[in-house]
Symmetry: C2
DNA sequence: TAGCATCTACTACGAAACGTCGTAGATAGG
DNA sequence: CCTATCTACGACGTTTCGTAGTAGATGCTA
């Protein structure tokens, strides 16, 4: 359902619907409803374009993922423990990416 | 609802109910249902104790949090990007804990 | 200007999850 | 045998989600 995020720019309902037509047979109004609900949840934003609305993701997929990770961490009780367990679950590659992200953060703090 | 996790040992429905009585006025069967549903979702385990069941968390709160973080990361598309955003959201203290967790992971890999 | 196409707004409906609880029946202790 | 204690199972209202239809506004076109 959220594969609409793949799209780079703001799309109208029609465009999303057509783009989905290959993969799944959905009624036009179904797409409309979904987009509308996402907008109500602030996951998409919309702007007028003639009589139609043009929808765009409020934040990239990665930002959503990061938010969810934060939320999970917030409900953890002992954050240290949760983080230890988290890095314990993560693949080697992901651990490397994490380290990278952290040094990037350092660099930023130096500069900014 | 999941504040039942605060308890250290396996508890019977009655014990959980009594423990909750101070905070919230819940029917005995409500507690039972909840515990039972949690068990069905594998979030609690239960063992017989006389005619009663004794429930215990299948995993500590922190493990659940870590699982959720993983899930979020898995639905991210570009993991690097998601991780960068995540560490960007996190507090300084949490970043430090993360670094710590990562070095701990290193040490483990050396040893184990 | 009448009519058709296009779009939105609103409503709906079934399924699943959740919080809440009741009833029925098994079991154990006095 | 009666009563208290537990469980199993069902139930009901609410919310979320996927799906879709209908009504009404708007705009192009003949």
């Amino acid at each position: 359902m959220e594969q609409l995020w793949a799209a780079p720019a703001a799309l109208t309902v029609r465009e999303v619907h057509e783009q989905l037509a290959g993969t799944r047979e959905l009624a036009y109004t179904t797409v409309m409803t979904v987009l509308d609900r996402l907008a109500k949840k602030k996951l998409t934003e919309r702007e007028r374009d003639g009589k139609a609305w043009r929808y765009r993701a409020a934040a990239p997929r990665e930002e959503l993922a990061a938010d969810l990770m934060r939320d999970a961490l917030d409900r953890a009780g002992d954050r240290r423990e949760a983080l230890v367990r988290f890095v314990g679950q993560v693949s080697d590659e992901e651990a490397a990416l994490l380290r990278e992200a952290l040094s990037q953060l350092d660099a930023q703090e130096q500069t900014g």
